[in-house]
Amino acid sequence: MAFGLRFYIVVFFLYLFLPLIVMAAATFNDSRFPTITPWDGTTLRWFGELWADGGMWQALSNSLLVATGVLCLAVPIGISSALFLNTVSSRAKPFIYALILSPLLTPGVIIGISTLIFWRQFGVSGGIFLTVLGQATFIAAYVMLMVMARLQRFDRTMERAALDLGASQWQMFRRILLPYLKPAILSAAVIAFLQSFENYNTTLFVVGYDTTLTVYIASKVRTGLTPAVNALGLVLILITVAFAVIYEVKRRREQASLARLSRQ
């Protein structure tokens, strides 16, 4: 049994990583199509082609713009709703809680569609602005969950102590609560940025004639398929992996320090 389980784990991780390795390998294949069979010789030319692709750069800058917008909208909303849920006790709370969670349980395409339809009556059609709104709708809920997780461990005597020492409520918020929440807020911001950057389902409906990087890749895959897409994929993978590792290391450090705090 134990051997069977271990074997399964190995196969599982092969299943997980093999596709990514194949895709990365195909980048260096000097073939007109993205594949590793047959191997037509090793080349770096697809990176050059990617570099020269103006559409890609435009899509990338759009993606960054959208992600920044989402960050500015979803993070404050997420923090507010976590603080709201942490503070308020009311008979309406379960209902509000369900409403806050609902974007997480709604398919992304539907969030995109409803956003598109809603803003049509104000004469706003698909584009960067609607993409930001659509994405922020569900990303805010992720931010809320992450901030909430830390907030629940907050000792509210700290707040009372700050007030008792003469701090105003704003000073308490600025000097005590926000610094405490900071690690969670930073993590949430990283997640929010990435979620926005790689979103496809919602974006597809609200992006209009603009193009984000994900939409650009999808259209490339379906139309002008060349290994340049792989080159882009490889670059993105390397950036995300670097991001992920830094994030993980930071998160572990924070958890370790938190464990130290709670031990005392």
Binding site: A92, P94, V109, L116, A140
Partner: protein
């Protein structure tokens, strides 16, 4: 509610928080959904006809679906396939989650969790695209199978639903593994030992001890996976063929090719109802609440 917020944070902050929350829940979450439902209940009119005699509530857009054999078929195929994807993902994830929670040493578990997360930080499109390369007619999988002599001619994996299934299980596995892992991890090791000690075999231990304990995790994972699968656009678009269309693709076509938003809204609403229905059933069956789903 404002009074409680104000007592804790003071007027200006409380006001700002409530404004943000209200804006989000009303303008971004609730009203768009209501508007979508309203749209789905109105006929597709020319601008000149809006407000005219034809402008009224009707169920026509829903009737369309049930009169259109192809669309109805795709709707149900999406339903069954999503359930299949959910079950497959559960089967694939369970041993891994159990290994992480109960078998692996803390170091191994931490490493595995990191290895699990990394691929999922990568774009869904790119992950799906990787499978596109592997499953291609002249791709590595066919080449290997040919070389091994297991098949005589390359198989067109991307022609039916099989490719879509593989891609979806791959794309959403993390949403199943993590809830399962969290649930199993909270099980007291001694319960497993006690069951073994009392003579229960491996299968019985899982059936009677581990799986009942993991119920909230199974429910959460299933709800998330089903929702993602039924609402997926990228995977079927990339790995599917024209003959294996997904319901989301039909919706997309109503919006951007058919130009009939009202019809599209009706279809989108049906998709939402499908997901809510599945969620309610699972929650009822596993006796879990919303609080469990949010971890």
């Amino acid at each position: 509610m404002f009074a409680q917020l104000k007592a804790r944070f003071g007027g200006p902050l409380a006001m700002a928080m409530l404004t943000l929350l209200g804006m989000w829940l009303i303008v971004m979450v609730t009203l768009p959904q209501l508007q979508m439902i309203d749209y789905s209940l109105r006929p597709n009119l020319l601008p000149a006809e809006v407000g005219g005699p034809k402008d009224g509530w009707t169920l026509d857009n829903y009737v369309t679906l049930f009169n259109n054999d192809i669309h109805r078929g795709i709707f149900f195929k999406t339903l069954w396939s999503s359930i299949l994807v959910t079950v497959l993902t559960l089967i694939v994830s369970y041993p891994l989650a159990y290994y992480l929670a109960k078998v692996a040493t803390p170091r191994q578990a931490a490493l595995c969790l990191l290895m699990l997360i990394v691929p999922f930080w990568i774009n869904e499109i790119l992950r799906t695209y990787s499978w596109f390369i592997i499953l291609a007619f002249r791709g590595p999988l066919n080449e290997i199978l040919l070389a091994l002599g297991l098949i005589e001619r390359p198989i067109r994996f991307l022609n039916g639903d099989a490719g879509v299934m593989v891609g979806m299980v791959y794309a959403y596995i993390l949403f199943m593994v993590f809830p399962l892992y969290n649930a199993i991890e909270s099980l007291d090791d001694n319960q497993i030992r006690a069951a073994r000690d009392l003579g229960a075999g491996t299968l019985r231990t899982h059936r009677r001890i581990v799986i009942p304990h993991a119920k909230p995790g199974i429910a959460t994972g299933s709800i998330m996976t089903f929702m993602l699968a039924a609402g997926s656009y990228a995977v079927p678009a990339l790995l599917g063929s024209p003959g294996s269309r997904w319901f989301t693709q039909i919706i997309y076509n109503w919006f951007f090719e058919g130009g009939n938003w009202n019809q599209g809204a009706a279809y989108a609403f049906l998709l939402l109802v499908l997901c809510i229905g599945f969620m309610s059933l699972v929650m009822k069956f596993f006796k879990v609440g919303l609080g469990d789903i949010a971890k």
